[in-house]
Structure formats: structure tokens, C-alpha cells
Amino acid sequence: MRLQNKITLSALAGASLIGSLAGCTTTASTPTSDTSSAPSTGSSTGTASKTYKDGTYTEDGTYQSPAGTGRITVKLTLASGVVTAVNVNGHATDPTAKTYQADFDSGIAGKVVGKKIDSLNVTNVSGSSLTSAGFDEAIKAIEASASA
């Protein structure tokens, strides 16, 4: 539950580890399992006044793929309440994932690292973080009720 709060925080902070892990069944974070009691409107605009301790946190999570259960280790760093670094390591046991690991060596598929967008000479960003304003409102409402 300790990490859960921090992960929930990351969603508010604009990062979204909550999503990546809620896509899994994980020992560390099931923050959205509380959502059955979430309000159906965004009327609650609670100020998430909770503060989170800076530091680096590591948790294991599992996810289901057609090949079975996979395990990942997530390491995230918090500074001033903002997620500043995320590192995910897969522990491939199933053949498909092993293939990807092998491909990495031949340069076909590999572990990617994040670079600061500010440091890149780019004009636009393609991603799904900004997708739905309405949904973000709902997430905020849930965050508010979850931390109440």
C-alpha cells in the first residue's frame, strides 16, 4: 500500500505509472481496485495534499500475457512529489519474451530508455498521455476519493 500511494501520485503528477501497473496484476499496486466506490461525476475536486517522501522505490509486478504470467521489476524515483525516473526490467521466462530478449542482441528488439523530451530537438510528441480530458477528470476524482 505504501507504493500504491506513490504510484497514484504519479498519475496526478502527469506521469502515469498507475496505468502501466494497473494493466498488470501486481503485488505493489492495485490502486484502482478502489474505484468501485468512486463517484460517477467529477464533482469532487479534492486537493491531494498528501506529501510523498522522496527516494527510489522498487517493486515487483506480474502481468498476464498469452504465454502466461510475466514478472517485471519497476524502479521509480520521486523528487518533490514528482516521478523523475522510471525503470522497468522484465524477467523473461516464456519463449516469446525470451525471443525478444534474444532479438535485442541482434538489434531487432531491445530495451528502450527514456530521454528527456526537452533535450530532444522535436516539434511534437506522439503518445497517449493527453488523450482524454474527460477521463483525466475522472481519474482526478478517483484520486481525490482514494486519498481522502
Partner: protein, 285 residues
């Protein structure tokens, strides 16, 4: 470059053009977006989609529906039914409904079969029972294309339309587009370069709620997908790029390439990513 900002279909849009977009064209764009929303939004009580979900029967869609449903037909076939406009009811059951209740109600069921449940003759759809259509997999991209057409029709041939991460680019010099890290929007996992065409992203990270629920549903099971966590597709149109970004969650790119000419990037829950050999750009490793 001058930028036009506006909100449409629940998201933020930005259009970059060398010359400013005048008020007349801005009004045309606004009107086009409104008509699209009026037709396809399943969150609106007065939309055509809602009418079909309430009464079933025969409904004639606008002319623009033809290309949209054609794309769905192809994706449906290529993904063995995983990508279907009929995930709407399953999304609702999982709580992604008009009120964003985010509360599961009912049981998870496979979507009804698109090919048998809905008879389509061009833009006319007929159903025997009410069906809830969701064009979320390709609708936003399609609207990006339609807005792009409006720009061309009005003499603006150089532009970038950015609908919160789904882009249509028409520029002389290639644009460098960051591929946003699915875990952290301040980071990119790579860069794609585009001067003509569209890049669309799909991720399971953002719209997410209880018990591993997120908005990309497998139409065959009614359950959200899990293994792939983010995808990008680059194609000539945003309609195709948007649809393929979703399809990449279910189906091998090679199979999709039998029907579409496109480039792609996938990122997995393991933290690994792969890409099409022809991708213009790079992944950071």
C-alpha cells in the same frame, strides 16, 4: 509558426501553419468537428451512434462513414475480430461509459460479431437489435484527416495537426516527433521523422481503471489487452494510423502489413520495444 488551439471530441487540438488560420476557416473547422461529434459520439444522447444503441433498426450515416467502416471491416478481418466497433457495450460494462462511472457493471462478454450483427450497405447500417458502436480505435484519426482536408481545400497545404498525440503532418522539411514514454510523459523512447503522413499512438497506460481495466479491449473476449503497453503507427492517413495503432495490440505487424503500407513501433510490458525496419527515426537504447 502561428498555432490554432481548440478542444474537440474530449481532447486538445493544435494546428501549426505558416500563415494564420482566419476566422472563416476556424468556423469551418469548428463546424466540421461538431458534425462529426453529432454523428459518432457515444457519449452524446443525441448522436446517431446513440440512436442505433437505443433502437437498432436502419440508420443512414453521413458520407464520411464509408471510409471509416471500410477500415473497421479490414481491421476486423486482419485481427480476427479483436478490433471491432462493437466493443462499445463491453466498454460500458467495464465502466467507460457516458458518465465515466469507471465502475464495472454486468459481466465481461465478447463483443457481438461485427460482420453478422450489423448489415452495412455503404453508409447505411441495419441491426435487428440495438448495438452500441464505438469508433474510438480510429475515429479521432479520421477527424484529423477530415480537418486536414478542410485545410487543403482552403489553400493551406503546409501544416501539422496535433490532436493530443495523434498527428497529421504536411510539411516540406520532415518534422521530428517524440515517441512519448508510456510511463512518463516527460520522456521519449525514440523519435520519428515525418514530412507527409500521420503518426498515431495508442497506449494502455492512460485510460485505466480498476482491476487491470483499460480502454483497449479485445473484441474476442471483451477483456482489456495486457502484454503490449504502447504502440505507434505511421501511415499516409491518420484514419489508418490510428486504427493500426490499436490493432498492433492484438496482431503481428506482419499480418497487418498484408493490408496496409505502414511503419510501426511497439513497446511491451517487459520494457522492450521493437520497430519496423523502414521506420524513419530511431529508438533510444
Amino acid at each position: 509558426m502561428p498555432e490554432l488551439h481548440f478542444a474537440a471530441i474530449g481532447t486538445q487540438w493544435m494546428i501549426d501553419t505558416p500563415q494564420p488560420i482566419d476566422q472563416t476557416l476556424e468556423a469551418l473547422i469548428s463546424d466540421r468537428v461538431a458534425r462529426f461529434d453529432q454523428t459518432y459520439s457515444r457519449f452524446r444522447g443525441d448522436s446517431l451512434i446513440t440512436a442505433l444503441a437505443t433502437d437498432g433498426g436502419t440508420h443512414r450515416f453521413p458520407d464520411d462513414a464509408d471510409a471509416l467502416f471500410d477500415l473497421y471491416d479490414t481491421l476486423y478481418a486482419r485481427t480476427d475480430g479483436a478490433v471491432t466497433p462493437l466493443v462499445g457495450r463491453a466498454l460500458e460494462r467495464l465502466g467507460y461509459d457516458r458518465d465515466y462511472s469507471l465502475t464495472e457493471h454486468g459481466t465481461v462478454e465478447p463483443a457481438a460479431a461485427w460482420t453478422t450483427e450489423v448489415a452495412r450497405e455503404g453508409t447505411t447500417l441495419t441491426t435487428t437489435t440495438p448495438v452500441l458502436i464505438d469508433v474510438g480505435a480510429a475515429g479521432k484519426g479520421y477527424l484529423v484527416d477530415l480537418v486536414g482536408e478542410l485545410l487543403h481545400e482552403n489553400g493551406i497545404h503546409e501544416f501539422v495537426i496535433d490532436a493530443s498525440g495523434d498527428l497529421l503532418v504536411s510539411t516540406r522539411e520532415p518534422r521530428r516527433i517524440a515517441l512519448e514514454h508510456p510511463f512518463d510523459p516527460s520522456l521519449a523512447i525514440g523519435v520519428a521523422e515525418i514530412s507527409r503522413g500521420s503518426i498515431c499512438a495508442s497506449g494502455s497506460n492512460r485510460r485505466v481503471w480498476g482491476n487491470g481495466r483499460h480502454h483497449i479491449l479485445d473484441g474476442r473476449t471483451g477483456e482489456p489487452t495486457r502484454d503490449v503497453i504502447a504502440t505507434w503507427a505511421i501511415a499516409e492517413t491518420a484514419l489508418v494510423a490510428d486504427g493500426l495503432a490499436t490493432a498492433l495490440f492484438f496482431t503481428a505487424p506482419e499480418r497487418l502489413a498484408e493490408s496496409f503500407d505502414f511503419q510501426w513501433v511497439r513497446m511491451f510490458a517487459s520494457g522492450l520495444a521493437d520497430r519496423s525496419p523502414g521506420l524513419q527515426g530511431e529508438l533510444f537504447s
